[in-house]
């Protein structure tokens, strides 16, 4: 742990926490977003997604510091919603330090589907 850069440590613990919360109870995700309007949109969108249960499995993740002391995190993984087939996805997070804690201020998400 000690030899890993700080952004790796923060990023990977955020990612782990995010998907644990998402899979268990996505209505709780508000706790790890900041109060920006974009974050509110994302939370609303997440809460409206039409499935009962979901599982995420992370294949790989990368974390990099940004010039304004944020952390940029990219995740590649697979998910399974209810009884649907497993689908690949990409998700990118922008994390920032807010009152001593790291919160997500923006994220983008895509399914890895190719013939659309």
């Amino acid at each position: 742990m000690g030899d890993k850069p700080i952004w790796e440590q923060i990023g990977s613990s955020f990612v782990q926490h995010y998907y644990q919360l998402f899979d268990a109870d996505r209505t709780q995700l508000g706790a790890i977003y900041d109060n920006s309007s974009r974050a509110k949109q994302l939370l609303l969108k997440n809460s409206l997604l039409p499935f009962q249960k979901i599982q995420h499995s992370i294949t790989a993740q990368d974390h990099q510091p940004t010039p304004d002391s944020c952390i940029l995190s990219m995740v590649v993984g697979q998910l399974k919603a209810d009884d649907d087939q497993v689908l690949g996805f990409h998700q990118t997070f922008l994390l920032k330090s807010f009152q001593g804690a790291w919160v997500c201020t923006n994220d983008v998400f895509r399914l890895a589907l190719h013939n659309v």
Binding site: F51, Q85, L87, F109, A112, N115, V116
Partner: protein, 247 residues
């Protein structure tokens, strides 16, 4: 020396390419001949709509022996089914989504040139019935006139639901079926009726886009074959003349 070797290599490469092109053309020719021998197959496309996990699986029992063409990185599951309707061979392409409709809206190409639609909901989950209207709205934006069938699935869980009335189908004047994909009730009937409707639609569609597509298709075929035959006759005539000086 190196230069001429390179030229020779290039010529061999060109010859190989021509050979490959000829083989490809022959394969296409054979395929066309096979299709003609089979008696001009009619091809229709039927799409499935509805919330995920409503059990749109019933088509699997119909198309059972054919393997679905599915890749997890593809947005579609395509089931191909061959049958005969009034003695005529028909190829049916059933399209289903991979589940991406939960995260993003459907791409227009899903609806493109579809001839019929099967809309499925789960009688055990009210929300899937409520969402039919948004599915129907989207369908009509892309395909204003194709026949659409409404299917109430999972009636095996509670047969009493078949006494309930579901207004959605009546409101839009759509054929309505109770189905159990689990025990097979009505499954084959739904698909056979959908295929009939799709063929009837394909043959008599008054939808503007369909007419345009029909025009384009017939235009392509006739104009291309005319061009080709003209080219052939030209080359045949030209060949002897070209050979004369060298002879």
């Amino acid at each position: 020396m190196a230069g001429s070797a390179a030229v020779a290599e290039r010529e061999r490469e060109q010859a190989r390419e021509q050979e490959r092109a000829r083989e490809l053309e022959q394969a296409r020719e054979q395929e066309r001949a096979r299709d003609e021998a089979a008696g001009a197959e009619e091809a229709v496309k039927i799409i499935c709509l509805g919330d995920s996990a409503v059990g749109r699986a019933p088509r699997r029992s119909l198309t059972h022996p054919s393997r679905p063409q599915q890749l997890s990185t593809f947005a579609l599951t395509l089931y191909q089914h061959r049958t005969h309707v009034r003695g005529r061979p028909v190829r049916v392409d059933f399209w289903d989504t991979a589940g991406q409709e939960r995260f993003q809206s459907m791409h227009a190409s899903y609806y493109h040139k579809a001839h019929a639609c099967i809309m499925v909901f789960d009688v055990q989950r009210k929300v899937t019935y409520k969402n039919l209207s948004s599915w129907y709205k989207e369908l009509r934006e892309f395909r204003p006139e194709i026949p659409c069938i409404v299917v109430a699935n999972k009636i095996d869980a509670d047969m009493k639901v078949t006494q309930k009335s579901f207004n959605f189908a009546r409101k839009f004047n759509l054929p309505f079926y109770f189905v159990s994909a689990a025990d097979g009730t009505n499954v084959v009937k739904v698909f056979n009726d959908a295929i009939e409707l799709a063929i009837a639609y394909k043959q008599n569609s008054g939808d503007f886009m369909d007419e345009v597509m029909r025009e384009l298709e017939s235009f392509d075929l006739s104009s291309l074959s005319e061009q080709k035959s003209e080219n052939f006759s030209e080359t045949e005539e030209n060949c002897p003349e070209e050979k004369l000086p060298s002879a």
